[in-house]
Symmetry: C2
Subunit: 417 residues, 2 copies
């Protein structure tokens, strides 16, 4: 096995812990300098790879790379950019291989969700055909927790913790005020197709907090929902609603459609919370407040789950270890060994089985009435929010690292993206 | 000085640290059992006092009272209920005095903002006239930081910390994504009349984060604002906007008026963020995301400022100490001794000077262009967000206490509120 350089790229929406995976990749590569030369990073993810806009991570100190573990966002920039299907456009794949060749890159670590797994899979298949073999390893990342073949996805556990705690805190607030003021609090959370994030609020049922969850998996039933909220207010004096941005009406329309789309063609959502809040007010007259957490939830490194941070780091490290073992077209996974005490080990999945498969909430995770979670779901979620992993603070604010991100000299002609 | 019971009541919107003041009041009273008998609490604040719905805090263990220090929300319930002016309605004040008399209450600790200070002042004046002297002490509390004669108000420092950190984290997120996706992030924060909370985001300027702040003190100038955002995106690739819910157009109308009012007659706001985001998109075409923090910001005990928690506790303790010294119609205050190192001492203000005075941001705290804060403001804010004061965690969630809140037997006929 001859020494080759590596390319690491971040893809899609960033998370509180994607940099912990970057940290795992780079720190592990640095321990194997006999096999892995320089770890390059794509500036703004795959865009940097295509445009040969590479970052030389060897210019970063060990301390700064270690600090990535406690820094949210994408340290090298990420991108919402999906390579086109091969039929339409083998030009982008050929360019990638040309960039790999020019910089002696033998390892490609792509850190992203389902769309990126597909890209990574195609790279793994093509490089051989195009005469420059590259080992392509996917490092899972998505707050949506919707990748198959892994017990969970780094980024999700921290969002789950953030949503559970924020919902708890806001619910206690409303409980204090309900006698003369707000009785309804509506929190809108991320989740276009899968209700994993919203489900996290279901962990509060054990604390006697009345939370009604609206999952994208369950078509919105207005009458049943309003009855449930009314019953909660009657019993508890107040009610909290956690609504997934992707909740749909029975006709399939999103509850709150803004009408814009992102680069992947996904409809861009937001604003389900005020719709729900006003609906409740019109039906029951209850006073309400609503919040839309949006990026706050996925960026909240200050409240990251220690388990999630460990998963993220471990998967980054495992990706490099798989590469060193000569593996190609794979993704390291989290395999749960036991719920309590929580134990996991690192497994491996073939990328062909990962790409473009979306994992929804299992039916037995949603309670019969459709507004809560089951004991099975609680057993699944609980370990993922365990442990606090606070960043260091200076002067009252977290000390997040901003890297130097030094450019690598270009060797190829420009490429139009 | 004969031994008397005390009544403690929480008022208005609750905060992450109002229970730390309750903790200060109760723990200090427990140390002076020779002077102070039972500390009663009004269930749902002044409503409980009027309806003789009192809580016997002596039924709570020392451990549970200590746990209040790390528990957000109002442990005894709060209320948005303003006693009417004396001219219109001395009946409510007479009832209060009757309840005080029935339960041998000689000390009234009222924990709230400006409106409550007014109520507390009236109680302090009236009890004497009505033949049952009570020492009325106001314990300051408001995330709006708008009480006069105190350097700051408990509750504000923690919101400021939450907003600064949330804005930092979301900004790093957008910075990672701006090349192909979101370029604008808009965060709506609380603050009807004063921009103290929004100002906290100005602390990020030192970290080279482009944040444009919209203060309620500055009439919204659309052209100037859009030009500023455009310039930031040109320079940094992205821009964060922190908008106060109370921002008004030059004609005095709120940017986002929902048309409803709360019990104090305040217009109920919410939804400035999407207005601003869509405005930017229409003018510049930039992709955007927006968030409305709402209750999450004031309930976020998980991210409380240690300085703020200490202030809250100290002021609760000081209120009892003032009572023991025979003072009436006063409010303990924070007096800043120095900025760096930060030092403060507890002062005293007369309630007649506090009631119904609102403290706005000083002119020299807002930058000349109206979109940021000055060095003087940074010097003021920085100490208030210092230190982390994490709650204990069990099973991944903060261990917030819920008290027993045992009722005191009623002695009086019912009272219609």
């Amino acid at each position: 096995m001859s020494k080759k350089n590596a390319l690491y790229a971040q893809s899609g929406g960033v998370t509180a812990v994607i940099n912990a995976s970057a940290c795992g990749v780079i720190e592990t590569a640095r321990k194997h300098k006999d096999k892995i030369g320089t770890v390059f990073a794509g500036r703004n993810g795959i865009i940097g790879a295509l445009s040969e806009d590479l970052i030389d991570t060897s210019k970063e100190s060990d301390a700064d790379i270690a600090a990535l573990r406690a820094t949210p966002s994408g340290a090298f920039g990420s991108a919402r950019y999906k390579l086109k299907g091969l039929e339409d456009n083998d030009r982008e794949y050929e360019r990638l291989i040309a960039v790999f060749k020019a910089h002696d890159i033998g390892y490609f670590f792509y850190n992203g969700g389902g769309d990126s797994a597909d890209t990574c899979y195609k790279v793994s298949q093509l490089s051989q055909t195009l005469g420059y073999p590259v080992q392509a390893i996917h490092v899972p990342k998505t707050i949506d927790n919707d990748l198959p073949l892994t017990d969970c996805c780094p980024g999700f556990g921290s969002v789950a913790k953030y949503i559970a705690i924020s919902t708890l805190e806001a619910s206690l607030d409303v409980r204090s005020m309900a006698k003369t003021s707000t009785q309804i609090f509506v929190l809108e959370v991320m989740g276009r197709h899968a209700g994993w994030i919203a489900a996290a609020a279901g962990l509060l049922a054990e604390q006697d907090i009345p939370v009604v969850i609206l999952f994208p998996e369950i078509p919105f039933d207005q009458d049943k929902f309003l009855a449930k909220v009314g019953a909660n207010v009657k019993k508890f004096g107040y009610c909290t609603v956690v609504v997934s941005e992707g909740v749909r009406l029975p006709d399939g329309k999103f509850l709150a459609e803004q009408g814009t789309k992102d680069a992947f063609g996904h409809v861009h959502l937001g604003g389900a919370a005020p719709v729900i809040a006003n609906l409740i007010n019109a039906a029951h007259g209850f006073k309400f407040h609503w919040a839309v957490a949006n990026y706050l939830q996925r960026a909240a490194r200050h409240l990251a789950s220690k388990t999630d941070v460990r998963h993220a780091y471990d998967l980054g490290r495992a990706a490099v270890q798989l590469a060193l073992k000569g593996r190609n077209s794979v993704m390291p996974t989290i395999e749960r060994v036991s719920d309590a005490p929580y134990k996991y080990k690192i497994g491996v999945a073939d990328l062909k089985d990962v790409a473009n498969v979306e994992k929804f909430m299992p039916k037995n995770f949603i309670s019969r009435d459709g507004f809560g979670i089951t004991e099975a779901c609680r057993r699944y979620l609980t370990p993922l929010i365990q442990g606090e992993d606070y960043p260091p603070y200076v002067n009252g604010l977290p000390q997040y690292v901003t890297l130097k991100n030094a450019s690598v000299k270009k060797k190829l002609p420009p490429f139009a993206i």
